[in-house]
């Protein structure tokens, strides 16, 4: 299945790109995707530990199952003293 990945703010700058598309095996979870990206890309492994993940615009936990066409975003901590 194909999923779209999006990076924002510091994550976008660290990754050097705003988005990409990945082919993943059916049954891949958010946590498994994170594990794969960390293994493949040292830059991804250095993203902040308290980064959150959204799937189709909702925050999701690592056990969330991905599906064909999902949009997955990596969301560093949102801005502070506004």
């Amino acid at each position: 299945m194909r999923v779209r990945l999006r990076y924002f703010a510091g994550a976008r700058e660290a990754m050097g790109r705003a988005e990409e598309t990945r082919d993943l095996p059916a049954g891949t979870t958010v946590g498994a995707l994170l594990g794969q990206l960390r293994a493949e890309e040292p830059r991804f492994a250095r993203l902040p530990a308290d980064m959150m993940v959204s799937v189709n615009f909702e925050y999701r936990a690592p056990d969330h199952l991905l599906a064909e066409g999902d949009e997955v975003a990596f969301i560093p901590p949102v801005s502070g003293g506004r």
Partner: protein, 150 residues
Amino acid sequence: MFEITREVLTADQVAEAVRAPDCGGVVTFLGTVRSPSRGRTVLYLEYEAYPEMAVRKMQQIAEEIRERWGITRVAIRHRVGRLEVGEASVAIAVAAPHRREAFEACEYAIARLKRIVPVWKKEVWADGEEWIGWEGTEEVQPVGAPAARA
């Protein structure tokens, strides 16, 4: 009215959007670019949003306010792009029959916005820049959903 915009924000835009004859009070919040910030002189800020998700999260905040206070008149706008010191990055208005609830709900809205609406800012100083809230780290831990709301 829930939006991410590149336009200048004003209090009137959001206040006018929520005003109604059965509401005796309108509370508006403007969050503005401060300088100095954490001891450094700010030249300007760059705001970036995940707009599709940010608008949905603003709508979620309005829904939470409806559940908690029965208030239906909420407007939230967030600006992105380059902002100068003193300009407003966020504008929120809440209208309610009684002012106590309008104050509470408006303050709730900005607190929630800062927790769940995906908008980031980069402070630019004379000698550098930094994404606020962003601290690149060597350590990687499991990534999950934010804590449930209070």
